[in-house]
């Protein structure tokens, strides 16, 4: 991502730091996420702080706090113990922007929200097609060496809870000295 792509959210950024400048990002949680289970659909809502820097993190450009981000998705587990989340919708309710560079234009939080909700619409098909690891794909261990192997693990979202089931094979050997 470069500064020019962010001009729509932060008008005046390019005048302040230059056009097409590479941007590095730091994502931070703001409080704890909240999960909602509803039949087979899972939702998560959270506040996220996004700090935009120059390429080498020597100058901070702006902090954007995204409030009440809501992602609705479905969860599936494949036979290789990979959890996939298929995102159905992502929306942000409001935002706060704090600039660290001198901007000549006044910031409008409504513009920021509109811009990122548009970005999220672009993001959805990309996430569901690529399933980037640690974003919409997570790997679960199937073996705990010397303790157990997990087989037939299933994961479901039910009315108001997560349901796991498995057929574990315990590997712990009897230690006769302790009998």
């Amino acid at each position: 991502m470069v500064t020019t792509q962010l001009e729509g959210a932060v008008p005046g950024l390019c005048d302040a730091v230059g056009y097409d400048k590479p941007v590095s990002i730091v994502f931070s949680n703001s409080g704890a996420p909240r999960f909602i289970f509803k039949h087979d659909e899972l939702s998560i809502t959270f506040d996220l702080q996004v700090s935009l820097y120059d390429r080498l993190y020597t100058q901070k450009y702006v902090d954007i706090t995204m409030k009440a981000l809501l992602i609705k998705f479905k969860v599936r587990l494949d036979e290789n113990m990979n959890v996939f989340t298929d995102w159905e919708n992502i929306q942000m309710d409001s935002a706060e922007v704090k600039p660290y560079v001198q901007l000549n234009e006044k910031l409008d939080n409504v513009v920021v929200v509109s811009y990122f909700n548009w970005v999220f619409e672009e993001l959805l098909p990309w996430v569901n097609e690529n399933h980037p690891e640690a974003v919409s794909q997570f790997h679960l261990p199937s073996t705990f060496p010397g303790v157990m192997d997990l087989k037939n693990l299933k994961l479901e979202v039910r009315e108001n809870y997560l349901f796991f089931s498995m057929d574990p094979q315990f590997l712990i050997l009897e230690n006769k000295e302790n009998i």
Binding site: L123, N160, Y161, S165
Partner: protein, 86 residues
């Protein structure tokens, strides 16, 4: 503790109650975020079953992240290699 363990359909079943320490006044108690599970195990399903409610998950996350901030840096090159569609 909940009801005592039972044996039914050649299976041992039971429920347990736990305590999450460190919540204080920020405990999630009700509403969409604090619903309990239905406590209804399937005696004919997989040998090992486990249910976890939004009440439990949200309170665990509250302890972990409620007052702690964890950051993840994504530098320009990494972000570029993701082929982000914007």
């Amino acid at each position: 503790m909940g009801p005592a363990p039972y044996i039914r359909n050649k299976r041992i079943g039971g429920y347990f109650a736990g305590k999450i320490s460190g919540l204080g006044d920020d405990e999630v108690k009700d509403g969409d975020f604090g619903k309990l599970g239905d406590m209804n195990l399937d005696d004919n399903g997989a040998p090992f079953q486990y249910m976890v409610s939004s009440f439990v998950i949200n309170n665990i996350w509250e302890v972990i992240l409620g007052k702690n901030q964890i950051s993840k840096s994504v530098d320009y090159e990494t972000f570029k290699n993701l082929n982000f569609p914007v």
